[in-house]
């Protein structure tokens, strides 16, 4: 079991190395894309600062909280894009039959599908996230912070896998996946506490945008055992659910009877 887990991480690392090599091969492109994303994040941060500067707090969220929010979202989204850069390409891979390539190779196909691409711009996100974290996270908070980032990454990936796997059941979900992930990114870029009632509940469960950034920020501000377990719990459920959905979908794919798939 431990051997399998080790192999899993080694495999991800191999692909990551290739991504870095490709990045160095296209140095200009890499630095401009990563740099632009870094700049982009700074611009939005500035505007948050202007907003908070004018209104002091937004439902108890102050400047520091907004900083943490941005750090977490950039870092987790960035890590997904750097290591699992194909996470938004699942629906397309299914629709275009690229899945065959991964199926015919000895490695587990979901992992392989996810790690086989890397987005240059995501490195800019990671850099930005690290810089912000370095400034605003204290040493004592680091373990909790890392745990939250891991949960966020898993949530983002699980959501992407779920949306992509819909292609197995209802036909190509390329556009749905794109919109869904964009929406997820959008909502999780804002403080969860601007929402209330049913909306907030949905964002903490079925569409876990609130768990990606909002809850971690609150946890880092003031640790709460219930929120913590809620975060871990929903993350685990989402992970298991998305993997099962994908695996079952593969069985359907193997029957060759999918709609809209080029056979």
């Amino acid at each position: 079991m431990a051997g399998k887990i080790l192999n899993f991480f080694k495999f991800i690392w191999e692909y990551f190395k290739i991504s870095i090599q490709t990045a160095m091969e296209y140095r200009m492109n890499f630095f401009s894309q990563a740099g632009l994303m870094f700049m982009n994040n700074i611009i939005f941060l500035v505007f948050w600062i202007i907003l908070i500067g004018k209104f002091n707090t937004i439902n108890a969220w102050g400047v520091k909280d907004i900083m943490l929010l941005n750090a977490i979202i950039s870092l987790s989204w960035g890590l997904c894009g750097s290591f699992f850069g194909n996470f938004q390409g699942i629906a397309e891979a299914i629709r275009d039959g690229q899945l065959d390539f991964y199926l015919a190779l000895p490695k587990e196909e979901l992992t392989h599908l996810l790690v086989s691409k890397s987005k240059f711009s995501s490195f800019g996100d990671v850099a930005f996230g690290i810089v912000l974290s370095a400034i605003f996270i204290s040493w004592t908070q680091v373990p909790l912070f890392i745990l939250c980032i891991i949960c966020s990454v898993i949530l983002i990936l699980s959501f992407a896998i779920t949306l992509g796997s819909i292609s197995f059941y209802l036909g190509s979900s390329v556009e749905l996946s794109n919109q869904g992930m964009m929406g997820m990114l959008g909502v999780s870029s804002y403080p969860i506490d601007i929402f209330s009632g049913y909306t907030k509940f949905i964002l903490l469960t079925i569409i876990p945008a609130g768990l990606i950034s909002g809850v971690p920020v609150n946890l880092l501000k003031q640790f709460n055992i219930q929120s913590f377990f809620w975060l871990i719990g929903v993350t685990t459920i989402f992970l298991v659910f998305s993997i099962i959905l994908f695996k079952k979908g593969i069985k359907r794919y193997e029957s060759g009877n999918l709609i809209n798939v080029r056979m």
Binding site: N29, S32, Q33, L36, M39, N40, I43, F44, V46, F47, I50, L51, G53, K54, F55, I58, N59, E175, L176, Q179, M182, G183, G186, V187, Y190, D193, I194, F195, S196, T199
Partner: protein
């Protein structure tokens, strides 16, 4: 002129299928408006007016700005791509009517996208914060302003695309342009929220004439502002039009010499 109108109509009818795609893309505006409505409701708290905006005005303002900016035509993107590939040499030999045909198509796209975005977003906004009052007599002026805003956006996009003759990577330039629209253009929040020095700068840059001014006119019409805005919009369209022409001439000369 009528011919181009007809072309637009036929094109739209034939593309009913890809309307599905359009709608799906526009769903994003529902999410965005939902987020902003919640955000500003919390910010307003008990306040009735902030910098001259009621909450309704604020949200409708954002919706209008969002609708203008996000209504793009794939034709602009395709044209820019063709410029990158050098395919545009093929265009240089076509009659002007071909170019105008594409412009007509582009406008058709943008108008359609705008309506869908504004309608869908409007439903969300209305149900969350309510409506705003607009004097129907002002609608025609607002439409003029919107038309000019969209045109300005198109021309700047084409200009950036044209730079593809010299810069290999116009995608980054487009990216930067969009970010500038979001921020200095006033899409995220009206210029009134900015610190004074920043709002003064933003008010003279072309970006605010794509988003801020037309949207401000929509929620709070003022004839003086309309005249001023229109004149400057025309001014900027002229400037970028000339720049576009210069670049085009230079580029086509370059192309002819190099044989494409």
């Amino acid at each position: 002129m009528r011919k181009y109108l007809e072309i637009s109509k036929v094109y739209l009818r034939n593309n009913f299928a890809f309307m599905g795609d359009f709608v799906l893309k526009s769903l994003f505006v529902i999410v965005i408006m939902f987020i902003f409505a919640n955000l500003w409701t919390v910010i307003y708290g008990g306040e009735k007016i902030i910098e001259g905006f009621t909450i309704q005005m604020m949200i409708w303002y954002i919706l209008m700005a969002e609708s203008i900016i996000t209504s793009e035509s794939p034709i602009i993107k395709d044209t820019n791509k063709e410029i990158q590939n050098g395919d545009v040499a093929y265009y240089l030999n076509k009659p002007y009517s071909y170019i105008f045909y594409n412009i007509a198509k582009a406008y058709a796209h943008i108008v359609l996208a705008f309506f869908i975005t504004f309608l869908l977003g409007g439903l969300v906004v209305y149900s969350l914060v309510g409506g705003i009052s607009t004097n129907p007599l002002n609608i025609i002026f607002i439409i003029i302003s919107l038309f000019l805003a969209v045109t300005l956006n198109m021309i700047i996009s084409l200009f950036i695309g044209m730079l593809g003759f010299w810069f290999e990577d116009t995608v980054s330039l487009r990216f930067i342009y969009h970010k500038l629209l979001f921020t200095l253009g006033g899409m995220l929040m009206p210029l009134e929220i900015f610190p004074i020095w920043l709002s003064k700068i933003a008010a003279v840059l072309p970006f605010s004439f794509v988003a801020y001014f037309p949207s401000k006119l929509f929620v709070s019409f003022n004839f003086e502002l309309f005249i001023r805005t229109t004149l400057i919009q025309i001014g900027y369209i002229g400037i970028f039009g000339i720049l576009l022409y210069i670049v085009y001439k230079k580029a086509s000369r370059g192309l002819n010499i190099n044989g494409g």
